[in-house]
Every structure is written in C-alpha cells, then in structure tokens.
C-alpha cells in the first residue's frame, strides 16, 4: 500500500504543478454542462430525465481525457520502465494509478455537479444517495479505464484507440450509473439493482486488473 500511495503522490504532485490533465478535464466537463444548459434552457420541464445523461456524458468524456494521459505521461523519458524496474509488485503500479485517477475524477465531479445545479436551478432530493451512485460509477469507470489506458500505452494512436475500446467495455457501468442517477433524482428509493451491477462490475474488473496488470504493461 505504501508503494501505491507513493505512486499516487507522485502523480498528483506532478498534476497539481502542471495542471495539464485537470484543466482539460474541468474545461471539457464545464463546457458540456454549459452547452446543454443553452440547448435545453434554464428550466427544462423534463430535467429529471435529461440530467443523468447530461452528467454522465460530462463525467465520462472528461474522465477519458485524464485517463488517456495517465500512462502516456509515464512514457516520457522512459519513466514507465523506471517504474517497472522498482522492486514492487506490478499491481501496485495499477493501484497507485487508480488512486490518482480517482482523485482527479472526484475533483472534476465536485466542480461539475455544483455548476450543473446552479445552471439548471436544480435541487437534488437525496444528495447522499446521489454521491453514493456517483462514487460507485466513477470507481467502475476508473478501474476499467486505468487498465485500458495501460493496455494502449504503447500504441501510437492511443488517444484514438482508448475511447474506441473503453466505451463498449464500460457500457454496463454507464447504463447502470445513468439509470441509478435518474432514479435518485426522481426520488425513487429502490436503486439496488443498478448498485449491485455497479459494485459487482467494479469489483470484478478491479480484481482481474490486479491479476493481469503485469502482463498488460510488459513490452
């Protein structure tokens, strides 16, 4: 765990110094929300149906920008080889990257949701339940995205390839997250079917990633 935290610390320190990924993610997510607010007007009647899709489009597409840079930045100066030379289990690299990607995703989410609330003059009926769904959905997205980001790191057109292979794989996460978010925003309490899918999918991908990561990053 110490090594994972060390990798996450290094990533976040670099990111907060340069703000390369964070600025792009925030800008993209905010633009999506602002464009939707212009498209639907400030008080759309069917906001409960529009909001989940709007939010998850912003989260996933902005998150993609961060994920695509997550391992690509390690290619500069051969740093990925430097990491692989360290006497640690290679799954520690995966967990460290998951930690830093999760922090960046949560920062983006924490900025995007309040802007959405302000622009649409929206009141969330059960904020805690919404946070729970967003956390589960984001973790599922990061678990899968971090693995695929590592898988595509040696590909020349990785920025193009990552979305192409990531979206089909995370479709169950996105669909469940959108449905659960919609139910929370509509005041429906029974979200456990979607939560079960999100939890199971995330857990399976996390465990599989830990097991196969060594082979994924091998040259």
């Amino acid at each position: 765990m110490r090594h994972c935290l060390n990798i996450a610390w290094k990533d976040l320190k670099t990111e907060f110094r340069t703000k390369q990924m964070l600025n792009s993610m925030l800008l993209f997510a905010l633009l999506v929300v602002i464009i939707f607010s212009f498209a639907f007007g400030p008080y759309p009647e069917n906001i409960d149906q529009l909001a989940p899709g709007m939010l998850w489009v912003a989260f996933t597409f902005a998150g993609m920008l961060g994920l695509s840079r997550s391992f690509a930045s390690e290619k500069e100066n051969g740093c990925l080889d430097g990491l692989k030379l360290c006497p640690v289990d290679r799954s520690d690299i995966y967990v460290g990257k998951v930690m830093s990607n999760t922090v960046l995703m949560f920062i983006m989410v924490m900025v995007t949701v309040p802007v959405f609330i302000v622009l649409f003059d929206y009141s969330i009926p059960d904020p805690l339940r919404l946070i729970f769904v967003i956390v589960l959905g984001t973790l599922g997205f990061v678990f899968v995205g971090t693995l695929l980001s590592a898988l595509t790191v040696n590909v020349r057109a990785r920025e193009l390839l990552l979305p192409v292979i990531l979206f089909p794989v995370i479709l169950p996460v996105i669909i469940s997250a959108v449905l659960a978010t919609g139910e929370v925003l509509s005041g429906i309490n029974d979200i456990w079917a979607e939560v079960r899918i999100l939890g199971t999918y995330g857990a399976i991908f996390f465990i599989v990633s830990l097991l196969i990561f060594e082979y994924v990053i091998e040259d």
Binding site: N6, T14, E76, G82, L85, P87, D219
Partner: protein
Amino acid sequence: MISINGLSKVFGSNVALKEINLEVKKGEFIALLGPNGAGKTTLIKIISTLVSPTSGSITIDDYDIKEAPIEVRKRVGVISHETYLYDDLTACENLQFYGKMYQVDDLDERISTVISDVGLSRRSDDIVRTFSRGMKQRLSIARAILHDPSILLLDEPYTGLDPHAAATFDGILEQLNLMDKTVMMTTHMINQGLEMGDRVAILNRGEITCDMPKNQIRDEAHFKSIYEQCVGVEL
C-alpha cells in the same frame, strides 16, 4: 554476479538473441559492443526484468529473474539513454520517489550523498525540465545508485551527450566506488568500451561473437580489426 545460460529472445519472426551464454563475475566491468540492432538493449532489458526471455535462464546473485524478479530488481541499477526521470518534479523529489519505491534506509541522508556525488547539490530543488541533457544523465546516475545496487547495467549511457558531458559522466563513474559492483555496459563506441571495461564482448545479430579480457587487446586498432571480423563491416 550475472549468469546467463542459453538465453534466447524472439519477437514475432525476429530472433533478437540466440542462445547467449555469459558469466560476469562480481566486481567485473564488461563492455558489450555491437552495431545497432545487435540485441544489446534487449539483453539489458531481459537482465533487468523489463522483458521476459523466450527461453534460457538468467541468475543475478543467485536469484533467477523469472522466479524472484523483485529480489533481482533490488540488486540492479539501470542507467539508460532514457533517464527515467519525471521532468515536472525537482531532482530531490525524483530521488525521494525512487528512494521510497526501493525502501532506502535514511533516505534524506542517502539523497544528499548521491546528489553530491554527481555534483548536483546546488540544483537539487530545481525542476528537472530545466536541466541540460548532461545534468539529467548525471541525475540518472544518482537515481540508479540510490539503493546501492550490486549490479549496474548501463545501456548506451553516452547517447545524446556532447564530448564534455560524456567526459563528466565518465569522471563521475570513475569517482564512484564501483570496485565492488558488477557492471555491464552496452555501447557502440569502441573507445569508450575499451576505456571502461575489464572485459569486452561483441554482440552481433543476437550472438556473442567475441568475449575477451582487456589485457588480451594490444590497442584500439587491434580491437577494431577483431570487431570488423566479428561484425563483418569496415570501421
């Protein structure tokens, strides 16, 4: 000690290394020469556990690279033409990061020692992006020796260095106490290989075609004629 037995590596239809057998004793400095594409970097990558061999075995201080890769990595330091340094961290932060990954004891003290050994004490709090290529390569030495490895692997360490930076790099390597370390250096610069190594080997098309101690080489011209015979090109 590095012991390589029947090592082969195949990438698709390309045979990068063919049945390599090589033993490097403790404290020995072997220079591995060869033209581009000979398999030098592949060999270093396999020894350092970055790439898996197709067949054969390698032991580092009695640890097999396949069975105990983490123990092998603890004992190996790699200096490559790539620095493995994070441009947006300071020199000190880079060393702190790697030091924690290698679980170096008394890390702050060790960092100040190695950073002073490579003559970068005054730039330790500067962002690496502001360093020249030569300074980055010196910091790369500090990174590689931070955990006091028993084996140093140098993969074309002079690439991109001007003559002055290369001389500084040589000077630092000489100043460091490498006597108790086993060193393998790949290079295509014959003079550098002859100057640094106790033993010289030539790798061509994935095969060791010559392996001799330096005291059997009369001078550079003598070795060049051997090299030309082994590689099949005129220098």
